[in-house]
């Protein structure tokens, strides 16, 4: 790892200066207890600010508005995390999954239509999972049948994050029920304003409702919105899923590192009994263990990004990073809830647009359960590590 060229060209200083000027002061307070509309407006505004600086899609190819080197991206995400910048929540699927799909398998027309639109704020969601197709994603049963000019889609998707705000959806549907599971799937770009789509938010344990069920009733999708060949959707989906790895993991690891400072703050606060958690040897022991793990995670994710970039990534590297991160996030937020004492149960306000570790530890902990399940459960990650990483025999 050598950052010297980045440091020498003054990029870190430039990002720091930019953050000091542009990260909205007091955004955490302003994002607490707000409506959905206010959240969406803030996210759009923050995305535009980052975009105008060239910081929204640094990982995209230069011709589409990105082109930043890996070394510079690492510095960018480190500084955004260190300056506690708001996260891009609304744009996340668009700039990562949709863009990765279009770049890997989209037609020129699809790229021309959507990549600039994403930069202008087009919001995406991902419609993969179904009630009976979670870890066994290839078992999905939403059907897309051929009609004049395209397809008609019927079925139900679930755990669609942000569907209520989305303009477009990355949709996986079965186009040939007679082919083996993975072989009969196709990948579509679905306009969320098309007739026949019903979105029902699901209330989560935290009280938020960012996951949705999406009911599809004879939804028409033009043939031009098919990505890749018909029945080749599984291969395209794998490209989309891989977008959750790499730089997104590095960003999350840097955010977790910043969150550790919140944890230290929590431990150092005098409680109503006058004592501070941080003065306890047991607490110091846990903090030391957590910081060691966070340092390991940051190194791991940085290494992962560099391996992906140089084509040296092993088949299980991304799974190791996700498993490490998600379980560490649970441990850290759990500990935050523990040391917060009574306040964890009575002060329950989490700023929207914040990371998974916001300092509202009880809500952070409950939210952290999501991380070991979507995007490939921990069981799936362990299977990948065992079979592809360690070369163990495939389980029955």
């Amino acid at each position: 790892m050598n950052d010297s060229s980045v440091e020498q060209d003054g990029f870190r200083d430039a990002v720091r200066t930019w953050c000091r000027i542009n990260v909205p002061a007091g955004w955490r307070q302003a994002q607490t207890g707000i409506s959905d509309d206010e959240f969406v407006a803030f996210q759009r505004s923050w995305f535009a600010t980052l975009r105008d600086a060239g910081y929204a899609v640094p990982h995209w190819p230069g011709e589409w508005g990105g082109g930043m080197s890996i070394a510079h991206q690492i510095v960018l995400f480190q500084e955004l995390a260190a300056h506690d910048a708001p996260r891009l929540v609304l744009a996340f699927v668009g700039i990562h999954h949709a863009a990765a799909t279009l770049l890997a398998a989209g037609t020129d027309e699809q790229r021309q239509r959507h990549l600039p639109a994403i930069l202008q704020g087009e919001v995406w969601c991902q419609g993969f999972s179904e009630p009976d197709a979670g870890s066994d994603l290839a078992a999905l049963s939403t059907k897309a049948r051929r009609v004049a000019d395209g397809y008609a889609v019927d079925g139900q998707k679930v755990w669609v994050s942000g569907a209520m705000h989305a303009d477009w959806c990355l949709l996986l549907a079965r186009t040939d029920p007679d082919l083996p599971k993975q072989a009969g799937l196709s990948y579509f770009l679905m306009d969320m304003k098309a007739p026949g789509i019903e979105v029902r938010p699901i209330r989560q344990a935290t009280g938020e409702s960012h996951f949705c069920e999406v009911f599809l009733n004879d939804v028409r999708i033009p043939a031009a919105h098919l990505v890749g060949e018909e029945n080749a959707g599984w291969r395209v989906a794998r490209a989309t899923l891989s977008a959750e790895r790499g730089m997104t993991m590095l960003e999350l690891a840097e955010r977790l590192g910043n969150g550790f400072r919140w944890l230290l703050d929590t431990c150092a606060q005098p409680r109503s009994d006058g004592e501070r958690a941080i003065d306890s040897a047991a607490v110091q022991d846990r903090l030391a263990a957590l910081e060691t793990e966070i340092t390991g995670l940051r190194c791991l994710c940085r290494d992962l990004v560099e391996r992906i970039e140089s084509g040296r990534a092993g088949p299980a590297d991304a799974s190791i990073a996700k498993l490490f991160y998600s379980e560490l996030l649970q441990r850290m937020t759990d500990f935050g809830a523990e040391v917060s004492g009574l306040a964890a149960h009575t002060v329950l306000q989490k700023p929207r647009s914040s990371g998974w570790e916001s300092g509202a530890w009880m809500l952070d902990f409950i939210s952290s359960w999501e991380w070991t399940i979507p995007g490939g459960t921990s069981e799936i990650q362990r299977t990948i590590i065992g079979e592809r990483g360690l070369g163990l025999p495939r389980g029955s």
Binding site: S129, D132, G134, S135, D136, A139, V158, W159, I202, R203, Q204, A205, T206, G207, F211, R271, S272, D273, G274, E275, A277, S280, A281, A282, V283, R286, Q330, D334, F335, A337, E338, V339, G341, L342, A344, H345, T346, V347, L348, Q349, M362, I366, W369, E370, T372, I373, P374, T377, S378, E379, R382, G395
Partner: protein
């Protein structure tokens, strides 16, 4: 020593499970969250039917066992009611309930109603009248936890502290019973890759890990219930040890339960979701894991716990005397 519950206690446990189910079961917590002021109306009658107010866990082992299994049943159904605190109430003060707190001004609950005369006691036995503050957040989020205003009474409460720590562990045990049962049912039913999740060995191993933790806690809870009555001098250390074990077991059980339930487990439409939420205050108040460990270490020093055999009853294999 007694590590078994009496037949009467076991039967009372079954009766209380059925009575709570008949009174609404899982619906109780949902109704109480929507209409918090109805909590007493929802739960009070079933406690009356079960004779809860006549139980005095301080007097003898039978009543202590009955109180414990009642708490366990309340946990199983996630009844949003501080039954353990009510059962532990200091009768001589005509109090409505008892809650163990840490520090002079640090409240914890789940509280009684605003008009209840609850007593807070700290680990050193200092007692105060405790009045819950009106919560700022809706109960849906606070799980009925509220801060307490404390008004000192005396320092005569040390004898109540062990039971005040032990009975909530029985409530938590009931929650773990339920979490394991729910998860077992779910993995047997949920099909993925053409077979029930339960047929995957990794799933079985996770669930068995949870069951080992749950059953270990059950045994320790029975031992501690006996110990707090039989060994007053060691009751606090035993109670803290149980609390530590209960928190650790809950961490494992709920981690496994959530993982195996997948996304449905963190949606507020499943029993596991609210079970898990309501387990949080029991696991973290008045002492979380680190703080419980810290208190236990301070009290044990180099002496250790007596456990089920006193150390001097067991020949130490490597001592000079033994050799």
């Amino acid at each position: 020593m007694n590590l078994e519950l009496s037949d009467e206690a076991l039967e009372y446990g079954q009766t209380s499970l059925r009575a709570i189910e008949a009174a609404g079961g899982d619906r109780l917590v949902q109704i109480a969250e929507e209409e918090p002021d109805r909590r007493e109306d929802l739960v009070g009658p079933v406690l009356t039917v079960l004779g809860a107010d006549e139980l005095d866990p301080y007097v003898d082992e039978d009543e202590r066992e009955a109180a414990a299994v009642l708490c366990r049943s309340m946990g199983y159904w996630v009844v949003p009611y501080p039954a353990a605190g009510r059962l532990c109430r200091p009768r001589e003060l005509k109090a409505g309930g008892l809650v163990v707190v840490v520090g002079a001004a640090r409240g914890c609950v789940p509280s009684g109603g605003p008009d209840d005369h609850w007593v807070a006691v700290d680990l050193d036995g200092r007692r105060s009248w405790a009045r819950p503050r009106r919560p700022v957040e809706p109960v849906r989020r606070t799980s009925f936890v509220s801060e307490l205003d404390l008004h000192p009474i005396d320092s005569d409460g040390a004898g109540a502290v062990p039971l005040g720590l032990v009975l909530p562990c029985w409530t938590l045990l009931g929650m773990l019973d339920r979490a394991v049962a729910l998860t077992r049912g779910y993995v047997l039913e949920r099909m993925q890759f053409g077979q029930p999740l339960a047929s995957f060995q990794s799933v079985q191993f996770q669930l068995t890990e949870a069951e080992v933790e749950r059953s270990g806690l059950e045994e320790l809870a029975k031992f501690t219930l006996w110990s707090v009555g039989a060994n007053p001098s060691e009751a606090l250390a035993d109670a803290l040890a149980l609390r530590m074990a209960a928190i650790e077991a809950a961490d494992v059980v709920f981690r496994v339960a959530h993982q195996l339930h997948g996304a449905t487990g963190f949606c507020d439409e499943t029993v596991l979701s609210w079970l898990s939420r309501y387990s949080q205050p029991l696991r973290r108040l008045p002492l979380g894991l680190s703080a419980t460990r810290d208190q236990l270490s301070r009290r044990l020093g180099r002496g250790g716990l007596s456990g089920i055999f006193a150390l001097d009853e067991v020949p130490y294999p490597f001592s000079e005397a033994g050799g």
